[in-house]
């Protein structure tokens, strides 16, 4: 069933969009990532103009994260206080990111820098998570109780403005979460992603938050940051395609529910190995696109714009 998208001005198969939305929704529920880092390139591949894909994806992430976060609220795995601190940084970051994005657009290099960002960040995060989770699995397989993890008492704990986060069981400075939120906000505006794939590891490894709380809290932050990004795109670039968003989220919300159930039943370490592998695959694909000679050296864009 072909359907014509009013803003993207292309005709696509509706079932293909349901399928993509569902697949990405499952991952969203399982890992607490918005799925944008996967969905945005997939939308490019099926012929949606990049500007529309990025803006619409922000809108779709709001929906899939919303149903995901509801499930987490019911299981009480959202740290609202931490989420709010992250959100303050995130909103500032998104605004900053849009300024950077528009500057790069005026240089005509926005596509390249978006892809480079993907390759660099996905590569680093993916490798780190992969090694870390493999080590964790090996340790738990060696039998006996794993050695009690030493609480890091490094530079993060020496910072001022400490605050108690009861749900996470942390007493740390608000500066690291604000900076993480800001960083993720910038990335989400530039790369058209929710930023969960950066935030989740940062929360686990930098802040030392319990894995169970991390997913719900990151979804909570993502909803508001991507909603903000959607509004920025809708009012400045007119690139939010609501028909495309609705088609994607019909599959997405159902997928997210299934994903949350799967995620709750699987051990955390194996979940992390899966996510790491996925991140590395997407990274590899994007790197190849940059390294191999493209079959068409020329590309078309609107004059004076994207």
């Amino acid at each position: 069933m072909q359907i014509y998208l009013p803003i993207a001005e292309v005709s696509v198969n509706a079932f293909l969009l349901f399928g993509l939305g569902g697949m990405v929704g499952i991952l969203s529920g399982m890992f607490g990532v918005g799925g944008g880092f996967l969905m945005t390139p997939l939308l490019f591949f099926i012929g949606i103009p990049p500007a529309v894909a990025v803006a619409t994806e922000a809108n779709q992430i709001v929906a899939s994260s919303f149903s995901g976060v509801l499930a987490h609220f019911r299981r009480r795995t959202v740290d609202l206080k931490m989420g709010t601190v992250l959100l303050i940084g995130g909103l500032a970051g998104a605004a900053l990111g849009v300024i950077v994005f528009n500057y790069l657009k005026s240089l005509g290099q926005v596509d390249l820098l978006v892809k480079l960002c993907y390759v660099v960040f996905l590569g680093i995060i993916g490798s780190l998570m992969f090694i870390e989770s493999l080590n964790a699995i090996r340790k738990s397989r060696k039998g006996g109780t794993p050695p009690p993890k030493r609480r890091q008492r490094g530079w993060i704990h020496a910072m001022p403005f400490k605050m108690r986060f009861r749900t996470s069981g942390l007493y740390i400075s608000v500066i690291p979460p604000v900076i993480i939120g800001l960083f993720v906000g910038v990335l989400s505006a530039i790369m058209g992603v929710g930023g969960g794939f950066i935030m989740v590891p940062a929360m686990i490894y930098l802040l030392g938050m319990p894995t169970k709380v991390v997913v719900g809290t990151s979804l909570f932050q993502i909803i508001f940051v991507t909603a903000f990004t959607t509004m920025l795109h809708a009012t400045t670039n007119y690139t939010v395609d609501v028909v495309l968003a609705v088609l994607l989220l019909v599959g997405g919300v159902v997928g997210a529910q299934i994903g949350t159930v799967i995620g709750a039943r699987m051990p955390a370490e194996q979940l992390r190995v899966l996510l790491a592998a996925l991140v590395l695959v997407v990274c590899g694909k994007l790197a190849l696109d940059l390294l191999l000679q493209p079959s068409e050296l020329y590309s078309l864009g609107d004059a004076g714009g994207h």
Partner: protein
């Protein structure tokens, strides 16, 4: 030499033009882009009206072209720098039609001479180049060729030789496929009658390509009320997210 030929044409043309004229019919003079729009086929048919008997000599040939609205296009070229492929040079092609289809009744170089092509801008190359880029930039031609190559690949530009049927040098008909990835605007159908490569008569008519219904409402709203459009998009997204979440939970409880 070129001038001489042009001059000759100008002298000949009025005489021809009064002799043979196009009477045109279109299966539809507007294309409505609806939510389930999946491309369109326009049947273009017509007859040649003449007061005198059919002139002797080479037979009458017909060229039908459908042209979409022209707009500026930025063309970027990738080069390998620091081991990766990045955009380096870019060029703005001032005006390139968003859609261009040419149908002819015989091979293109037989129905129209180069000179006439240059004058009437019939072939795709001429349509772009004539309105196109600043040719002082080195390799500028490669850029306009890239526009044609990419759009041909997308099915937006096409040349369909031998697809116009001509009966008794009087009746002609053809059909033009329009792909689903159509942009809206004022399209033009142009008909050229030629004899031995020279244009003897031309005819032009408009085809209106418009979004209608929901497509129209959403498009207009996104441009004129962007804040409300954005809020509406978010509201729809959140409602769907919450709705599906609740439905799924109820389903599992039962």
């Amino acid at each position: 030499m070129l001038r001489l030929i042009t001059l000759l044409c100008l002298i000949c043309l009025p005489a021809y033009a009064t002799e043979e004229q196009v009477v045109l019919g279109l299966s539809q003079d507007r294309v409505s882009i609806t939510a389930d729009f999946d491309g369109s086929e326009i049947l273009i048919f017509g007859a040649v009206k003449r007061e005198a008997p059919i002139p002797e000599g080479p037979p009458l040939e017909v060229i039908v072209s459908v042209v979409g609205p022209s707009e500026p296009v930025t063309v970027r070229r990738k080069e390998k720098r620091f081991g990766i492929w990045i955009n380096t040079d870019s060029l703005v092609v001032d005006l390139a039609p968003s859609f261009y289809a040419v149908a002819t009744s015989a091979p293109f170089n037989e129905v129209l001479t180069n000179t006439e092509d240059l004058r009437y801008r019939v072939s795709i190359e001429r349509a772009i180049r004539s309105v196109g880029a600043d040719m002082s930039i080195q390799g500028a031609q490669n850029f306009s060729e890239a526009v044609i190559r990419i759009r041909e690949h997308e099915g937006l530009y096409s040349i369909r030789q031998n697809t116009v049927a001509v009966d008794e040098q009087t009746l002609f008909r053809t059909s033009i496929d329009m792909p689903s990835d159509l942009t809206e605007g004022d399209y033009t159908a142009r008909i050229f009658l030629t004899r031995s490569g020279m244009v003897v008569s031309t005819f032009e008519t408009a085809i209106d390509v418009r979004k209608v219904g929901l497509e129209r409402i959403l498009y207009t709203m996104s441009r004129e009320q962007p804040i409300w459009y954005g809020l509406m998009s978010l509201a729809i997204a959140i409602a769907a997210g919450w709705g599906a979440s609740t439905a799924f939970r109820l389903l599992r409880q039962n």
